[in-house]
């Protein structure tokens, strides 16, 4: 039937199909649909930059305008992947620059970006509008200067948690006077900034909706900036400190007045440095907030924090430090009835967390906030009873990540493993897509996961399980599994090799400090030529006498259409 319509009609229909997965599905229907879809595709998401080559991307989608790329494996966030492992964006940018692609947006996560890449990027695409870098490294403020200077229609520059070397240049001053198109600017991860250039930039960009400042922007400057940009929807404050002497009380008064005019702010973050007595200045906008991120605001705690939370009745997303305590979470539960996402981070990322939250806080939240669907919870301890209660109160979890600071801690009341608790979660939340486990866990939890977690796409396992059966339950049961990452768990070759075809249905598998051997990995690599099976060797033992029976410290495998990567460093072996 659809064959009677000209391609433009099909294309128009496909315009309404926006999600990547749906468009991928559309392209598989028939050759005609494949053709129309590929020419009309504007946004492409590549979850593993080594799964495909830039040339093939360009060949298939000549009209691509927005590209998202991810590089290193997720566990690189936790220092489990050595420096120079890979994930370079340079070849992508070079290939795109050589082609006739009119790139407008580039979003990168866990990739290595060089100043040269940024320079080429800034010069090669006249309509380039949006650059988003998350957890990337390898560049300096010189690269940012190139983006600022050359991207004439830049709308978005969003730098989230990157490691950026800061040079003495004033990169922000490189935005020309003619740059008036900015909508979103986030430089919170930098340590310095040119204040004068910032204020001028904000003054001439009336469409600015999202602005996230860094520590170097003092309160006085924030006040002046907000005067120029009362239309902001998304604000990240820098330093929120004023000493209490006579000059500054004038500043404080001005700040209060200015903030009253910022009626559009819905998302608030920052407070990287904060003097609690200044907080009342933001009370008037709290009632409108839907997203509050205080996860870097170590200076706000106790009664000041509670006062703030009590005003935020419309919150949907809250990111907070564990110094809020169980009592504080009870206040959240009674105040934030629309809460959908909660993230509780450890205020002491190294230690035992004396102030940490426990199962009590989580149960309170689940009880007060039934719409909760996304959780990241670092805590001192957890019980099965609590997890069962949470599962009952909140059957809508899409993401459930629990991190008990002592990774093999049992239920402190019963001294049992937490199998039943997590089992309850997966059984009740039928739409669960992402799960991270911790605490004392046997193979039983994996039996439950395999049985019930039908929509599960990503699973993170650490210090869990007793035997290969655990891993097998997951591989057999979770049909939609895409990413599996495992550390310090007793899974070996038997589990790894039982169903080798499974890995082509997944994006990647990470296993470190497990029981898989070099021989097992070699066997897998031989059977599955369309997987890259990479071994990371950081010690010398492997080099001189690599015996097949030796356990592999770190293995990362992923499906790919382009064979072993050519940029692997010498400590990464791709088995064939």
């Amino acid at each position: 039937m659809m064959n009677y319509f000209p391609d433009e009609v099909l294309e128009h229909v496909f315009d309404f199909v926006t999600s990547h997965r749906d468009r991928n599905a559309v392209s598989l229907v028939c050759k005609l649909w494949y053709r129309v879809e590929r020419y009309s595709r504007q946004r492409v998401f590549i979850g593993n930059c080594y799964a495909i080559s830039p040339e093939r991307l360009i060949a298939r989608f000549p009209g691509v305008k927005s590209l998202t790329l991810k590089g290193k494996p997720h566990f690189a966030d936790f220092n489990l992947v050595p420096q120079d492992w890979g994930g370079y964006v340079q070849p992508w940018i070079e290939a795109l620059a050589r082609s006739r692609i009119g790139l407008e947006e580039l979003r990168l996560k866990r990739m290595v970006v060089s100043d040269e890449s940024l320079d080429v990027l800034s010069r090669s695409f006249t309509n380039f509008k949006s650059l988003v870098l998350v957890s990337c490294e390898g560049f300096t403020t010189d690269g940012l200067a190139a983006i600022a200077a050359n991207c004439r229609f830049l709308r978005e520059l969003d730098l989230q948690e990157n490691e950026i070397e800061e040079k003495k240049n004033h990169w922000l001053g490189c935005f020309p006077d003619s740059c008036t198109s900015l909508v979103s600017l986030n430089f919170a991860c930098l340590k310095e900034i040119n204040l004068a250039a910032l204020e001028r930039l904000v003054a001439r960009n009336p469409n600015l909706k999202s602005l996230k400042l860094n520590r170097a922007v003092p309160l006085e400057a924030l006040q002046r900036i907000l005067m120029r940009a009362p239309q902001l929807v998304d604000l990240g404050t820098g330093s929120f400190v004023l000493d209490r002497d006579s000059d500054d009380s004038e500043t404080y008064r001005k700040l209060r007045t200015t903030i009253l005019k910022c009626r559009s702010i819905r998302n608030l973050s920052g407070f990287l440095e904060v003097a609690p007595h200044c907080l009342p200045a933001i009370y008037p906008i709290c009632v409108n907030l839907t997203y509050l991120n205080l996860s870097y605001a170590a200076g706000i705690h106790g009664s000041e924090l509670i006062k703030l939370i009590r005003l935020c009745g419309k919150l949907q997303r809250l990111w907070i430090l564990d110094c809020i305590g169980d009592k504080g979470l009870e206040i959240v539960a009674s105040t934030c009835k629309d809460l959908q996402e909660l993230r509780v981070f450890p205020s002491d990322p190294f230690g035992a967390g004396h102030d940490a939250v426990t199962e009590t806080g989580l149960v309170a939240i689940s009880s007060g906030c039934p719409k909760l669907n996304s959780l990241l919870y670092f805590c001192q301890q957890m019980t099965n009873a609590a997890l069962i209660a949470v599962a009952k109160n909140c059957p809508n979890f899409i993401r459930f990540r629990l991190c008990i600071l002592d990774p093999t801690k049992p239920d402190p009341v019963t001294m049992q493993p937490l199998d039943e608790g997590f089992g309850a979660i997966v059984q009740s939340s039928k739409r669960l897509r992402r799960l991270s486990l911790s605490g004392l866990l046997t193979d039983r939890v994996f039996l439950y996961i395999g049985m019930y977690a039908e929509q599960l796409e990503m699973l993170s396992i650490a210090f869990a399980g007793e035997s290969d059966k655990g891993m097998l339950y997951v591989l057999n049961g979770c049909k939609k599994l895409r990413k599996l990452e495992i550390r310090d768990s007793p899974f070996g070759d038997m589990a790894l090799l039982r169903d080798v075809g499974k890995y082509e249905t997944m994006r990647s598998l990470w296993m470190s400090s497990c029981d898989v051997t070099l021989g097992g990995c070699k066997t897998l690599a031989k059977k599955m030529p369309r997987l890259n099976v990479e071994i990371i060797n950081e010690n010398d033992q492997m080099e001189f006498a690599p015996e097949d029976s030796q356990k592999v410290e770190k293995m990362y495998l992923y499906r790919t259409l382009v064979g072993p990567r050519k940029d692997a460093p010498e400590f990464v072996w791709t088995l064939v």
Binding site: F75, D77, F78, N79, L80, S135, E161, N162, E163, C189, D243, R244, L272, P276, S295, Y296, A298, H301, G302, F345, P346, S347, D348, P349, F350, G351, A352, F378, C403, L405, D406, P407, T408, K409, S436, L440, S460, A462, F463, R487, D488, S489, P490, S513, C514, D515, K551
Partner: protein, 198 residues
Amino acid sequence: MEKSIAFEKDLNLEATELRLGLPGTKESEKQTPSTIKSNKRVLPDMSEECGSEDNSNVSHVKICDQEVAPPAKAQVVGWPPVRSYRKNCFQAKKMEAETTGMYVKVSMDGAPYLRKIDLKVYKGYPELLKALEDMFKFSVGKYSEREGYNGSEFVPTYEDKDGDWMLVGDVPWDMFISSCKRMRIMKGSEARGLGCAV
């Protein structure tokens, strides 16, 4: 593991034990979890000696401790799973806090000279008050939020960043040590006035 650690305490082997922690770091109170299924491989010639958990031979166990067991709980690589960026942000704050001492003057009404104490040394109000009691030979009474300190003519107070004199114990400990500039142990009628303050 529990048996060997008890044994070690009797012989005070802890004092001579080699450890992989940073010099000067206090050992965390919790034991290294012996239930961690550590898949860290032992060096081949150690594996026989360290294989059994029932091993009560002290010297063998000591060798194991030095070369096999994870050093201190906080140093399991990549745990807790917190992004390096976040760790670095908090690390900077923590190190700043740990290295500088926090000495404040303490005066006591009627005493001929002042003393100085390092607030960093104390974990909370109970330890601080005990230390002050020992130092100045007095008793501080019982603290309640409503009435201040009851049962003593001495009241511990401090001057905060704003220059105000505050009763010790009202605010969370961390807030106290970051805002306390000096302390004064008040005595007599002045003290009683403070005890009833709103």
